[in-house]
């Protein structure tokens, strides 16, 4: 089943009055459900911009984007937020956990915005933490955990809404090689159980572990 279809996507940033910067040029990309895709390329190649568009954090200047057959290229901010909440799980390089709240509450956060209340929310958050092997740390604060553990919490947070896609932006970038491998192991396991994973990385070692690699350069996909 076709999950993501990008056609003729351009992204142009207006810098100042006269200067324009084209971050993406005529991107055409299809991703099927259950794929494990790595998007690689040097910095400035446009991979983060592509990820922002895929994650509905940004809109393309031109072109079409269909997610599960729904045209999502030009939606209102409100609807984009709803789709992000329901269909996309984010994992960031910096983990982006809230240090003031417990691991359990961190993982439950997307469910709060999804309008899922009380016991169901706790149960789902516990289940997601169980999947990443952290069910013994529910009440800890993120800053009491190691980097690898924090990234596992972030993956649990991405999983908790049972999204169609997990978008991971340099998820191993802040981790040592060994811990990075453990995190990649979790992604592989998730992919084997059917999750679609799109990974952004500039490390070839990491990209190799995905089943499909897309290389970018100067805003274009290299053939």
């Amino acid at each position: 089943m076709l999950l993501v279809q990008l056609a003729n996507i351009d992204k142009i940033y207006q810098i100042g009055r006269d200067l324009k910067f084209q971050a993406l040029k005529n991107i055409n990309l299809s991703i099927k459900s259950g794929e494990f895709v790595a998007i690689t390329g040097p910095s400035g190649s446009g991979k983060s911009t592509l990820m922002n568009i895929l994650g509905l954090l940004d809109r393309p200047t031109q072109g079409s984007y269909e997610l599960e057959g729904q045209d999502v290229a030009r939606l209102s901010e409100k609807v984009m937020a709803e789709i992000r909440n329901k269909k996309i799980g984010f994992v960031f390089q910096q983990f982006n956990l809230l240090n003031r709240t417990s691991i359990l509450d961190n993982v439950a956060l997307p469910l709060i915005y999804g309008g899922i209340d009380g016991e169901e929310r706790i149960a789902k958050a516990k289940e997601a933490l169980d999947q990443v092997g952290l069910s013994d740390k529910l009440q800890n604060r993120p800053n009491q955990l190691s980097g690898g553990q924090q990234q596992r919490v972030a993956i649990a947070r991405a999983l908790v809404t049972d999204p169609q896609i997990i978008l991971a932006d340099e998820p191993t970038g802040n981790l040592d090689t060994k811990t990075g491998q453990q995190i990649m192991g979790i992604f592989c396991k998730l992919n084997n159980s059917g999750k679609t994973i799109i990974l952004i990385t500039h490390e070839l070692e990491i990209a190799k572990q995905a089943k499909r690699t897309i290389r970018m350069r100067d805003g274009e996909i290299e053939k």
């Binding site: 954090l57 937020a81 992000r84 910096q94 982006n96 809230l98 997307p110 915005y113 999804g114």
Partner: protein, 396 residues
């Protein structure tokens, strides 16, 4: 996202920075506290004066020098143009309608043996003063017609004077020095309490004639008229005004009934309440600016958090509500602490000065604090809700 969740998030954020939250709340707290305290003081003052005036009896008509509300109103610098002849004239012409008593007033030191008083109010009065002002003489007797006629040096002292100069000794027939001259104590007045810290019992009454002679006073400070019949009060007022107008102009004196005196006091205290309450309300606004400042800092500090929440599906309204509730919670906490402290403090002050806590001031100041929280919380909250998630997530 429901409001309970938003509220929980806001509380967590406030608790994460307790010292800062406390300092932020301080401004609102002081504002609410001062509104409640100042209005309770003014209301207390009003209650006391009203009680005193009401206690004088509703038949009372008071003549004072100067025109109330006029250019030379009481309290202003002016020449007192009332004379004792005016008082005598009123007494003579209103014989059928009212009791008339001229009163002079001075402050001076009292002395007995080697005990010095701190200074007391000295009133020169006529014999019917007791009846007109409904004073009670607790021990001994009041000043009589004969005392006034012959200018005897006799005195009726207040409770405070008795306590200070005599202690447990019986003061009757003892001699005291009033500003250097010997007077014999003939009576002790019943306690009258205090008005706004001024002890009404720290006073001594002497015959009008004795006071005139000793201090060389030529003008009465007050002329009291007590209408013999309640229905004649307005009539007495009109007649007194007409009599005085023959010799004086309307700027020279005011003739007020008890009812008018009460309404004058209401006017004065209302102005005081508005003025003091207004000043206190300014501190509430300053407190609101403090909240806005801290909320703006908080939004900047938590840019990444906002970006993350948006990425995870928070709607702009969710973010706006989160920060707005945080601001309103801060002002609400300040308001509640202010109410508690304000009430406690006015109850404490009530031991020295009468205070009356008015519920409208509690409700009004709290409501105003909440409104201030909303008004000054909106700008930071809207700023937070408009942050671009991509930029916000990258923010260091």
């Amino acid at each position: 996202m429901n409001h309970l969740e938003t509220f929980r998030v806001a509380i967590t954020a406030i608790l994460a920075n307790k010292v800062r939250a406390f300092l932020t709340v301080l401004g609102i707290m002081i504002g609410v506290l001062s509104v409640i305290l100042l209005t309770s003081l003014v209301s207390g003052l009003k209650t006391t004066i009203t009680k005193q005036i009401a206690g004088l009896g509703s038949n009372l008509v008071i003549v004072i020098p100067g025109r109330i509300g006029g250019a030379r109103s009481p309290g202003g610098i002016q020449a007192n143009r009332l004379t004792f002849a005016d008082a005598a004239n009123l007494k003579n012409k209103l014989r059928q309608d009212a009791l008339v008593c001229a009163v002079v007033q001075k402050t001076g030191t009292l002395k007995r043996l080697n005990i010095n008083d701190k200074g007391a109010a000295i009133y020169g009065v006529q014999a019917n003063y007791e009846k007109i002002i409904s004073l009670k003489t607790e021990k001994g007797r009041f000043i009589n017609e004969a005392d006034v006629a012959s200018g005897r040096r006799v005195a009726v002292i207040g409770k405070t004077v008795e306590k200070e100069l005599f202690g447990a000794t019986n003061p009757l027939n003892q001699t005291i020095k009033i500003v250097g001259l010997n007077y014999v104590v003939i009576g002790v007045g019943a306690s009258r309490g205090s008005i706004f810290g001024i002890d009404q019992d720290n006073s001594v009454l002497i015959p009008l004639t004795s006071a005139q002679k000793q201090f060389g006073i030529t003008s009465p400070n007050t002329i009291y008229l007590n209408a013999l019949k309640a229905e004649n009060v307005k009539d007495v007022q009109a007649k007194a005004t007409a009599i005085l107008n023959k010799r004086l102009t309307e700027d020279d004196f005011s003739v007020q009934t008890q009812e008018q005196a009460l309404s004058t006091i209401a006017t004065v205290t209302n102005v005081l309440t508005l003025g003091l309450g207004g000043i206190a309300a300014i501190s509430l606004i300053v407190g609101g600016i403090g909240i806005m400042n801290i909320m703006l800092v908080s939004v900047t500090e938590r840019t990444r958090e906002i970006g993350l929440r948006k990425a995870l599906g928070a709607q702009p309204e969710d973010i706006r509500n989160q920060f707005l509730i945080e601001a309103v919670t801060l002002s609400g906490i300040g308001g509640i602490i202010g109410i508690v402290l304000g009430i406690l403090l006015s109850l404490l002050i009530n031991n020295f000065l009468q205070t009356t806590i008015t519920w409208w001031s509690v409700i009004l100041s709290f409501g105003f604090a909440m409104i201030v929280g909303v008004i000054f919380g909106v700008a930071p909250a809207v700023r937070a809700s408009r942050l671009d998630p991509i930029q916000a997530l990258r923010y260091e």
